[in-house]
């Protein structure tokens, strides 16, 4: 006990002095040895089926290890830690288990509390053990199995038994973190000893055997009497403490996750009673929740919103069987403690009571509302939004129509167009009453309407490549129609469609390069028209020019493929177009052929020879991309090995890369994704040339091989360098 000194030998104690014993052993709850299998073995446990039990490191519940049970049989394992108990002690044993299977749910696990006699043997009969809750099912998460009981007559000790059956479909069961919870006799927390001798005296050399409360013991010159201290000492200590890091939360209902000293169980907050309609049209009154369910209104049991089924407590209002009830319930609110149920036809007023027998229909009138969120109990009335504007229950009930003078009439002319727009936009009007300000607020979102606009700009198109682009239509009342071209003509290959707020133009360009100017338009349901003037630029990707090819080579496949069976010259062809400004990136594929030293491609002027490889004269700069030692570059007939491309050789189906910056006078070569230099940074160019020189692509091959140009008319294998457009387009 805090504040009271412990007994000391040979110390003088005056009458009335208090001490607490110093020799009381600390009471600790013995836990199973190797409870979490952190020894990495099954030490501390015994089983008759050792072949079914192993140690696992796969996803333990806590620490590094857990025990794993496999095999299609019922098996069990017991802790060798058997704490002594007394008859009547309350004991709990617990262990975490996880079932993992392939979709079957025939695996089972449970912890069992075993009562043992003085010899450590199981007490006979059904009273000798207490089975815990069973963990079963598809599993995949940790769950606790716990068994609790009161020690029966004959019990002198206990332990935990782990009982498992992985089933016959290959399931495995993991167990971890076994624990005991029990109470044993301990020294009374408030018991202290008071010196009762007549005069101060010295304590003895050794501590006496302390008696129970009310009894005395002589300690040399001191007489100690056991008494309970009467003062209260409060000490706070954490019972549950989370871990240092946030756990990975399980998402399966019922799954448990360990976090510090806390076990979290995943629970669902959803009301699962099948009679709860899960409706957003809800009112609360008389201790019940009322929720619309088509043409009836269901209500829960009084003060128990989890229960929607109990007879004579939960139930439903048969609104559909009453006057003006043939339409689905659309809105509900409370008017002076009565429930008002609206639909498109009228309203019904119901008297509420916790007892369903006292719930009754009071009135029904043909005054309708379908705007649930616009309802608001205001002052001593209920304001609602009708098709004609804001109305109040007090006046509507008396007037029995919407044209009788009522609270909202001064602003009907303003509210009606706002309501029309809100309905068209799918925006629900929202009402609220602010008692602190004495104001009813009614909000119409997206009103006034923003102007109708057509957002976007057509990207460029390439002949032969599928093309698609979506403009976004925004503003107006969100009801869009009549997509069209008002100025210019949509190319024959293109289609224009409208889906929701997306104006879609798509197709595969044909013909040659062109620039098409057109104005697109779309209408909205509120009479607005949005237009957008666009320019559609269609490019033609270059191919090999059939009019500019060596007589020793031939062109096929729409100009993309170049073939030659020449034995040594590598004859070739120029491209259909050249450039003088900007940048370009393209790829040359060695399409067919296995011979090395057969294919060269690069850039060249119109003066370069076609009878030999690109770079064989001063008018071309070429890359040999199938040389056995790697990339080789040529200019003015001089060949040089490219160090950065050493060992890179294109086989059939593989590609070389060509990039050129006309304005800077730089070109870069690459093979199979590796560049010589860095075209993105504009550094380390393979060759330089006079800026803005008109250069074609020039390629050649030999030995019955074929190379194919990929200049934007189909997919590129490698990403273009930063700042380089994909393809060589004209």
């Amino acid at each position: 006990m805090s504040g009271i000194p412990t007994w000391q030998a040979g110390t003088t104690y005056a009458p009335g002095a208090l001490v607490v014993p110093s020799s009381s052993p600390a009471v600790a709850q013995v836990q199973p040895a190797n409870a979490g299998f952190e020894a990495g073995t099954l030490s501390g446990w015994t089983t008759g089926d050792p072949s079914h039990w192993t140690i696992s490191t796969v996803g333990p519940y806590q620490g590094t290890y857990c025990a794993r049970i496999t095999g299609a049989a019922l098996t069990s394992m017991q802790s060798t830690t058997k704490p002594a108990i007394r008859v009547g002690d309350t004991i709990s044993v617990s262990v975490m288990a996880r079932i993992t299977n392939a979709g079957t749910d025939d695996a089972h696990f449970q912890a069992v509390l075993q009562w043992l006699d003085g010899s450590g043997n199981l007490l006979p009969g059904a009273g000798g053990y207490v089975p815990g809750n069973e963990v079963q099912g598809v599993g995949g998460f940790w769950a606790a199995s716990t068994a609790s009981g009161v020690a029966p007559v004959g019990a002198a000790a206990f332990n935990i038994s782990l009982s498992a059956n992985p089933g016959t479909h290959g399931s495995v069961i993991d167990v971890d973190s076994a624990s005991y919870t029990y109470a044993t006799a301990a020294p009374s927390a408030g018991l202290v000893y008071k010196a009762t001798q007549a005069a101060p005296g010295k304590s003895g050399a050794s501590e006496p055997v302390w008696p129970a409360a009310g009894s005395s013991v002589t300690d040399n010159q001191v007489t100690w009497q056991g008494e309970y201290a009467t003062r209260l000492i409060w000490q706070a200590s954490p019972i549950l403490q989370s871990g240092a890091t946030e756990p990975v939360w399980p998402t399966q209902v019922g799954a448990v996750i360990h976090d510090g000293t806390i076990d979290w169980t995943a629970r669902s907050a959803q009301i699962t009673d099948p009679n709860c309609p899960q409706s957003k049209i809800v009112a609360i009154g008389a201790g019940k929740v009322f929720a619309a369910d088509n043409d009836i209104v269901r209500y829960c049991a009084t003060v128990n919103p989890l229960d929607w089924s109990s007879a004579n407590d939960a139930g439903y209002l048969p609104t559909g069987l009453q006057t003006y009830g043939s339409n689905p319930v659309a809105a509900m609110g409370l008017y002076r403690s009565n429930l008002v149920v609206y639909n498109a036809e009228g309203f019904q007023m119901w008297q509420l009571d916790p007892d369903p027998a006292n719930i009754a229909l009071l009135d029904a009138l043909p005054v309708a509302s379908t705007h649930n969120r616009a309802l608001a109990p205001t002052a001593n009335d209920l304001f609602f939004l009708s098709s004609q504007g804001v109305r109040s229950m007090g006046i509507a009930s008396a007037g029995v129509n919407l044209e009788a003078g009522d609270v909202g009439m001064p602003v009907d002319a303003l509210v009606k167009p706002a309501l029309t727009t809100a309905i068209a936009n799918g925006m629900e009007p929202i009402g609220t009453y602010i008692p602190a300000m004495g104001q009813f607020w009614l909000a119409f979102g997206e009103y006034p309407m923003s102007p109708l606009v057509l957002l976007g700009a057509l990207p460029t198109a390439v002949v032969g490549l599928p093309y698609a682009y979506d403009f976004t239509v925004a503003g107006g009342n969100h009801v869009y129609s009549n997509p069209r071209v008002t100025v210019g003509t949509l190319p024959a290959w293109a289609t224009l469609t409208l889906a929701g707020n997306k104006l879609h133009i798509a197709g595969t360009p044909t013909g040659g390069s062109a620039t098409v100017s057109l104005t697109l338009a779309v209408d909205s349901g509120d009479g607005q028209t949005a237009t957008s003037a666009q320019s559609l630029r269609v490019y033609l990707a270059i191919v090999w020019n059939v009019a500019d090819v060596s007589s020793l080579a031939s062109i096929s496949n729409g100009g993309q493929d170049l073939f030659s069976n020449n034995a040594s010259a590598i004859p070739g062809a120029r491209s259909t177009g050249s450039k003088t400004t900007g940048k370009a990136y393209l790829e040359i594929e060695k399409l067919i052929g296995t011979s090395p030293n057969g294919s060269v491609a690069g850039f060249a002027t119109a003066a370069a020879t076609l009878g030999q490889y690109c770079g064989s004269d001063a008018f071309g700069w070429g890359l040999q991309f199938d040389a056995p030692a790697g990339g080789y570059k040529y200019h003015a007939g001089v060949g040089v090995a490219i160090t950065a491309l050493a060992g890179l050789v294109c086989a059939a189906g593989q590609r070389a890369m060509l990039a050129i910056d006309y304005d800077a006078g730089l070109m870069w070569f690459g093979i199979k994704g590796t560049w010589d230099g860095n075209p993105s940074a504009g550094t380390g160019a393979t060759y330089t040339f006079t800026p803005n020189t008109a250069l074609f692509v020039l390629g050649g091959t030999q030995l019955s091989q074929t190379i194919r140009i990929h200049a934007g008319q189909d997919a590129l294998t490698y990403p273009p360098p930063a700042g380089f457009p994909a393809g060589f387009l004209s």
Partner: protein, 168 residues
């Protein structure tokens, strides 16, 4: 994005309330109240209604999604000031306000856009002469526009008219 809010104020016992409307610079999706204060949600924004703040999104840089000036407009109905449909001569007016509004006068019920050119008046025009504004019309509508950035209130307005004929 904008939301029109119609507000019905019940601030006089046993008397009809008054309607006003506001255009908020967000698409309102929810209202809720806590500690007698109104919170307004639009998209990812939650705004608090505070009558001591003179701007929406106060403190944000101006521009899209930024601070919005709140301009107050008060306009009376078209007032006959005598026999309906009979031409009267408006001589001038006085107005007592909190704030310094810009004034326009509507004079044509067939075209509500017909308003006099705006001009600014002091908060209280009663001391001294009336504000001269000669207009001949069967009815008149006073429109006061209060600039953003200052609290405002309209308290009273007096119209001074002259009959064109006896009995009118």
């Amino acid at each position: 994005m904008s939301t029109t809010v119609f507000v019905y104020s019940i601030n006089v016992p046993n008397a009809p309330g008054k309607w006003s409307y506001y255009v908020l610079p967000l698409d309102v999706s929810d209202f809720t109240q806590l500690n007698e204060q109104l919170y307004i949600r639009g998209g990812d924004d939650v705004l608090l209604l505070d009558d001591s703040v003179l701007y929406d999104y106060v403190g944000r840089p101006s521009g899209a999604g930024g601070q919005v000036d709140v301009v107050g407009v008060v306009q009376t109905p078209y007032i006959d000031l005598g026999s309906p449909g009979v031409e009267k001569m408006l001589v001038g007016f006085d107005s007592v306000n909190l704030g310094t509004p810009s004034v326009q006068m509507g004079y044509d019920e067939y075209n509500l856009a017909n308003l006099t050119a705006p001009f600014t008046i002091p908060a209280d025009t009663i001391p001294g002469m009336i504000i001269p504004l000669p207009i001949a019309s069967p009815s008149f509508s006073l429109k006061l526009t209060f600039p953003a950035g200052a609290p405002w209130k309209m308290m009273s307005a007096n119209f001074y008219t002259m009959r064109f004929r006896v009995g009118a």
